[in-house]
């Protein structure tokens, strides 16, 4: 009973401090909302409304039918140029991302055994977008050819027709997989960075020395930090889920409770890291630097949140196993977009549990009861 009074006092104090300190509030609430808005509205890995230039040397019914196929697509904005010189100039000026060049023999060659080639020039400065654009153009081109062939009653000679469909995220919207992954980043921010900072602040301002001289136990000091930031982190999780589902219309196909449970597990990993950092770093600057380098940046870059892990060099792939966010991002993306796939959820949860246990054991063992 009595030690509850101490713990209660510490937790109350922590909430007062969070509420009164603008920098804590910023990390706990403003930054998550900002990141969600940025990734929800601002950052998109999709190619949409890509400006392309047309150079049609001899307009015919076929050429206009072909260019119309593009006009009806969401992906492109067409501009027409009189000759290649103008188009190339526009490409250089980055006014357009690609040129589609139809020669004067386009219509004539169209249904010859060797179909007329069209020339596609893509601005390759942004390699990712370039690949997307050339893929889209080729897709549209072969679709149009098929339609033409069917109309003439002579199906196009193609050995295999690939009928591909995209599952789970059929609209291929990047926000639908970025936003679930972002939740892992936000919880790292609250669990590891904020916890490490506020602990270091206690050392820096000399409040830790006063605390240690009172009849308080190590567990109480640790719990006094863990409980408030656990609650804060779960608040961040709920906020992120709410914004994802209601504001950005990301489908939540799996169970909300699975998210909450695995979110708790991941938060323990983040808090454990935050506590460990705070034991090493006793001033806020160092604590902040370490937290950003070993928790926040890896969660951003190496968790599979933006960059696909399987396309990383093997050595780096091996490193990602050490990063808690990797497991949580896999769970998040699966639960949001696919559903409760236990084959993904269980092994990843187990990995999180093991990491959390390791970090907590280390933190509890290393936690100070004295000044050295």
């Amino acid at each position: 009973m009595k030690s509850q009074m101490r713990l209660k006092g510490l937790i109350y104090k922590e909430f007062l401090q969070i509420w009164r300190d603008p920098s804590s509030l910023a990390i706990a609430f403003v930054l998550p909302v900002f990141l969600l808005l940025l990734f929800g509205y601002g950052v998109s890995l999709d190619a949409k409304h890509v400006p392309i230039g047309w150079v049609i040397e001899k307009p015919t019914a076929s050429t206009s039918s072909f260019s119309n196929a593009f006009a009806h697509s969401d992906y492109f904005e067409s501009t027409f140029f009189a000759d290649m010189e103008d188009a190339e100039f526009a490409l250089q000026a980055r006014k357009i991302n690609a040129i589609i060049h139809l020669r004067e023999d386009f219509s004539r060659q169209l249904f010859k055994p060797q179909p007329a080639a069209i020339q596609i020039i893509v601005d390759g400065v942004d390699a990712n977008t370039a690949r997307l654009i050339s893929g889209y153009i080729q897709g549209t081109w072969s679709q149009w050819l098929n339609q033409k062939a069917e109309l003439r009653g002579t199906p196009l000679q193609q050995p295999v027709i690939a009928d591909h469909r995209i599952w789970y995220n059929s609209a291929v919207l990047s926000k639908d997989y970025l936003i679930p992954g972002l939740i892992a980043v936000i919880m790292t921010l609250i669990g590891a960075l904020l916890t490490a900072l506020v602990f270091a602040r206690e050392w820096e301002r000399g409040t830790m020395e006063s605390l240690l001289a009172t009849p308080i136990s190590t567990q109480e000091i640790l719990l006094g930090k863990l409980i408030p930031y656990y609650l804060l982190g779960m608040g961040g999780l709920l906020l992120s889920i709410a914004m994802a589902v209601f504001l950005f219309q990301v489908p939540l196909r799996g169970s909300f409770w699975v998210l909450l449970f695995t979110g708790s597990l991941f938060l323990f990993v983040a808090l454990g890291m935050g506590l460990l950092i705070s034991i090493v770093a006793k001033n806020q600057f160092v604590a902040g630097q370490i937290a950003i380098i070993i928790t926040f940046l890896p969660a951003f870059i190496m968790s599979g949140f933006i960059f696909d892990i399987s396309s990383m060099p093997e050595a780096i792939q091996g490193l990602t196993y050490l990063i808690g966010a990797r497991y949580f991002v896999a769970i998040l993306q699966t639960v949001f977009l696919t559903g409760n796939v236990w084959a993904v959820i269980l092994p990843n949860s187990l990995a999180l549990l093991v990491m959390a246990l390791i970090f907590f054991t280390l933190a509890a063992r290393k936690a100070p009861r004295r000044l050295e």
């Binding site: 009074m5 510490l10 007062l16 206690e202 000399g206 020395e209």
Partner: protein, 575 residues
């Protein structure tokens, strides 16, 4: 409740050292003592003597490398849990939560000490009333003045009614009024609860009020006895000296160069000297000596100086300067105001400083001393009024004036990863010194401030007293006419303080004007003239003797500067 007995605090051959990199510091060496229950014991000694380490050992925050520390017969290693219920420890920088209000801080510490809800209110009222904090219950601790913060820290420590109170320099940076209140609170608690107190302090007058004094130096416990015992040893060795033809400063300089005297400082209208044990007072023409009551500080200085024979020697190089100084006004301040938003930090300040004067700005934290200083150095523009330094109007040519002044900030702005010599070279080139002139100044600084043995040491690794010397040397590289010193001696022990003032006096004698801020009231004695500031206003201005005379009364024939300060502040408050 663990047992409470007479063995309040006992240390038995306790040693403690710290390792940082390759260097080992022996902070406490084989210390054995116990303190008297129900009394106050003072822990005094120069910086780095090991006082803080000793208090932390007593609080169980550090464990000894060897030996035992026991509190009420409980071992600090094995029974630390029980000990924590019996002690109150207030670190030097008391860890108040600055973003919590007064009452929230009290509540937190009440929770930590598991104070029952029903006792709590009564205890809060008692403590806040006693410390004068009641009107500020809902103010954030960060917005309290230095003295208030310290009182709140003490109140938090006293909440649990500790049996043993450990205080680490509780009155550093606290104005005299708050200092008196701190003492009153402690003494009241002792009467009510029979509490025992161990406190470290840099103030000798504070140590003099304690039942026993422990003198520490370089990790060793030199002596432990009553203040009277220490003073008794100095009987017949302390004199007030006065000369007809010499100024007090010349007299002090002369006397401090004589082998018979250990110490000579200016005290009011006289020079206070301490004679070497066994020496006899010879008649020196033109100087009258009057035997006076020894103070604890005299014993302290005598004991420490006997350990460091050669450390503090007045360089004899100084010529008979000081006579030919023209008395022109080098600094003129005329009705200067300074506003920060709605807050007026300095109110219609007017004073003048003469060339070669040592001019003091005294006052509590937040009185406007640092703001005034920054305006005088051209670091901060004035809101209203006229300000000229060395004949240059700071409103129009601040940069030009800055070339003729030296400034030493409170925090000793040194590059901690550069050696002493590298710091000197850097600062001299920043002031535009080159080649042989630069070499000559660096050599002068190393000699005058006795920094030669440390010339290749990184400034971050220097003891505090040496850092302060180096900072001062850096401010003097370009031979400024005016030197601004902002709290140069805060946290510096009496021995290092003496050295500092000795050198400053020498500078003043060569015609350098020195402006200094301090909250050590006793240091006002070193100034030729001073002003005492309260809330941006001048409370009083004059020579130390003139100011002290204002507080003279029937039952206080010889008031100290601190008495005068308190007298004037309370008098003003009454009006």
């Amino acid at each position: 409740m663990p047992p409470v007995n007479d063995k309040t605090l006992t240390l038995h051959s306790v040693s403690k050292s710290f390792v940082s990199g390759r260097a080992i510091t022996h902070a406490v060496k084989n210390v054995t003592f116990s303190i008297k229950p129900g009394h106050i014991t003072a822990l005094v000694g120069p910086d780095g003597a090991g006082k803080t380490t000793l208090l932390r050992l007593a609080a169980g925050l550090l464990l000894p490398d060897s030996g035992t520390v026991s509190v009420f017969s409980l071992d600090s290693d094995k029974q630390s849990e029980q000990i924590r219920h019996l002690i109150g420890y207030m670190p030097q920088r008391f860890g108040l939560y600055e973003d919590l209000s007064v009452i929230e801080n009290l509540n937190l510490y009440a929770d930590l000490h598991q104070l029952a809800e029903k006792d709590r209110q009564q205890r809060f009222i008692q403590l806040t009333k006693m410390s004068g904090l009641s009107p500020f219950n809902n103010r954030l601790a960060g917005q309290l003045s230095g003295g208030m913060k310290q009182k709140l820290g003490l109140a938090c420590t006293l909440l649990s009614q500790p049996r043993l109170l450990l205080l680490d320099e509780p009155s550093v940076g606290v104005d005299p009024l708050s200092r008196r209140e701190l003492w009153r609170i402690i003494e009241q608690q002792m009467e009510q609860n029979g509490m025992t107190v161990l406190m470290s302090t840099a103030y000798m007058d504070e140590a003099e009020r304690c039942s026993e004094v422990i003198l520490m130096d370089a990790g060793e416990c030199l002596q432990k006895n009553t203040p009277d015992f220490f003073k008794h040893k100095m009987l017949g060795l302390c004199f007030a000296a006065r000369a007809d033809k010499q100024s007090n400063r010349q007299l002090q300089l002369y006397l401090s160069q004589q082998d018979e005297f250990i110490d000579a400082i200016i005290q009011g209208d006289d020079v206070h000297v301490v004679m070497q044990q066994g020496a006899t007072l010879e008649n020196i023409a033109g100087i009258q000596f009057e035997s006076i009551e020894p103070r604890l500080e005299d014993a302290f200085i005598a004991l420490l100086k006997s350990r460091y024979k050669s450390a503090v020697q007045a360089p004899a190089a100084l010529a008979q300067a000081g006579a030919s100084i023209v008395t022109e006004d080098i600094i003129q301040v005329d009705r200067v105001d300074r506003w920060f938003g709605q807050f007026q930090a300095v109110k219609a300040l007017s004073f003048t400083v003469k060339r070669g004067e040592i001019f003091g700005l005294l006052g509590a934290n937040g009185a406007g001393k640092t703001t005034t200083f920054r305006m005088l150095c051209g670091l901060l523009p004035v809101s209203n009024g006229q300000l000229s330094v060395a004949g240059i109007d700071l409103r129009t040519a601040a940069a030009k004036a800055r070339a003729r002044i030296g400034y030493m900030s409170q925090k000793f702005s040194l590059y901690s990863h550069l050696s002493v010599r590298q710091n000197l070279v850097f600062f001299s080139s920043a002031y535009g010194l080159r080649n042989s002139r630069q070499q000559q100044r660096v050599k002068w600084a190393l000699q005058f401030y006795e920094l030669e043995p440390y010339s290749d040491t990184n400034s971050g690794d220097l003891p505090l007293g040496y850092k302060q010397r180096l900072a001062m040397a850096c401010a003097l590289m370009h031979e400024p006419e005016i030197l601004f010193l902002d709290e140069p001696t805060s946290g510096v022990d009496p021995l290092a303080r003496r050295e500092f003032w000795m050198r400053t006096n020498q500078l003043a004698a060569t015609g350098v004007t020195v402006l200094v801020t301090t909250h050590f009231m006793e240091e006002a004695e070193y100034c030729d003239r001073l002003i005492i500031m309260v809330e941006g206003d001048i409370l009083t201005m004059g020579t130390p003797a003139e100011i002290k005379r204002q507080a003279q009364s029937e039952n206080r024939q010889e008031p100290t500067m601190e008495d005068a300060f308190i007298h004037l502040v309370t008098q003003q408050a009454q009006q």
